[in-house]
Symmetry: C2
């Protein structure tokens, strides 16, 4: 976004080189040669300031000036800690992600453990909705990011899956969780901006309602109308007959399907 070199490739440092540098900044804690004055704060403090700003007012509030002011710095002083905003964000993202919760009780079945993992990840994303605001798709993967992956793999440790299958299962669950948390994240973001859930649901529902009676959307139109006799506009996905599922229940429902699919694969391995 900001510091992008420019259109075509061919600058002094290739884009690939750039990725490597970003990754290095996340992992290699460079040692301080003890010549000049000591830094006033630690890199971690800068990151915390950045995170607290994003937590309060979203990613847009995370500006170099705001972070600096938060620390009692001049803007330019930040560049002694991070070479550019991108690097600061990389570090903030990894720190904000945190580590997955430790297992509190005894080891459960893989299914229970995966489920806990998925809900934990979803909760993490919803609690920091600005993570989903990030325009950087291929941010380098830091220590905490890896720790989430590690935690997932541990849930499958006893299943006898091959390493390659494990990685693919990770991709399935991670994909489902991050992809399907969109609406919940969006709601979380709206709420942190002072929108009530009702207002938000109404706004999102309103878009869907435009499909009603539009010949381009026969199925959608039918579904929306059939549900609980007329659209209420009070539920994110339109209100449904009986007791409409909450967003969390919908997430759980989908997760159960995914887990069923994994289960079936495990079964197929046992009885070929």
């Amino acid at each position: 976004m900001a510091g992008r070199t420019g259109p075509q490739a061919g600058k002094s440092e290739s884009e690939a080189e750039d990725l490597r540098k970003r990754s290095g900044l996340l992992w290699d804690a460079q040692q301080r040669p003890g010549r000049g004055p000591k830094p006033t704060v630690r890199r971690e403090d800068v990151v915390q300031a950045a995170i607290s700003l994003a937590d309060r007012d979203g990613l847009a509030a995370l500006t170099m000036q705001a972070v600096a002011e938060r620390l009692g710095f001049t803007t330019m002083a930040l560049y002694r800690y991070f070479p550019n905003k991108e690097a600061l964000i990389d570090a903030s993202v990894d720190a904000a992600m945190g580590t997955p919760p430790e297992r509190s009780g005894p080891r459960e079945s893989w299914r229970v453990e995966v489920k806990l993992w998925a809900f934990a990840k979803r909760a993490m994303l919803c609690s920091r909705p600005w993570l989903a605001e990030l325009p950087f798709v291929a941010a380098p993967h830091g220590p905490n990011w890896l720790s989430w992956h590690e935690a997932f793999l541990q849930t499958l440790a006893d299943t006898g899956l091959s390493p390659e299958d494990m990685m693919d299962m990770l991709s399935v669950v991670h994909g489902y969780v991050s992809g399907s948390s969109d609406t919940a994240i969006s709601l979380a973001r709206a709420m942190s901006r002072g929108i009530t859930p009702e207002q938000w649901a109404q706004a999102v529902g309103a878009d869907l309602c435009r499909a009603i009676n539009d010949p381009r959307y026969p199925m959608l139109s039918a579904i929306l109308q059939s549900s609980s006799g007329g659209i209420t506009e009070s539920s994110p996905l339109p209100a449904r007959g009986g007791r409409p599922r909450t967003m969390e229940e919908s997430f759980d429902f989908g997760l159960e399907r995914v887990l069923d699919g994994i289960q079936r694969y495990l079964d197929s391995l046992k009885t070929p």
Copy 2:
């Protein structure tokens, strides 16, 4: 991001009101009262200019100045077509999404159709990687966005699922597709920036490789080492024994699990 009103709520127009307006701009084609001069171009032309810029150089290249120049306009002239950049992006996103491919042959089983839909959606996302760069999570849903939903629902038309279950299945598949296409999108973006797949894979693989021999990541470390005897750094997810799956094969593998899960649910409905 850009045009955000500011930190706390309480401006002249509430955030919720703002969402409604954005949605309205996407749907309600306001009629031209025929008093002044005719506009030089159509809204659609502006959108196309914006899309072509984003296609070429990513979302960062989509600036009001660049779009205006593309059209032979002054920057400010754009504001006669869209009230702000956000509105232009909303429109560009929906247009860029396009409509799902028409069914060419006869109706297939739900499973085949869902699969086609998922691959089509994935292909769409990969062909326009900047869509994933969007910092706006809760963009209003336009006509094309709804058409993708509609197409999905039609694939399930014969399954006998209840409307509410259909919507949840949509959420499952859509979640999986968009969530798990991350790496493919990232690769697509990198390639459009002149990075070779090898360079990209190496950069992404390098992050993972940091886990090796790190006591914090026992499982990950073991998996990475076990795979095909030593990490090659030549595959996005680390190379795996035998013939490592390509990214597309991994996507397919995961999709099959998801479809199995749905299948199982369908079966459970038939034999309660």
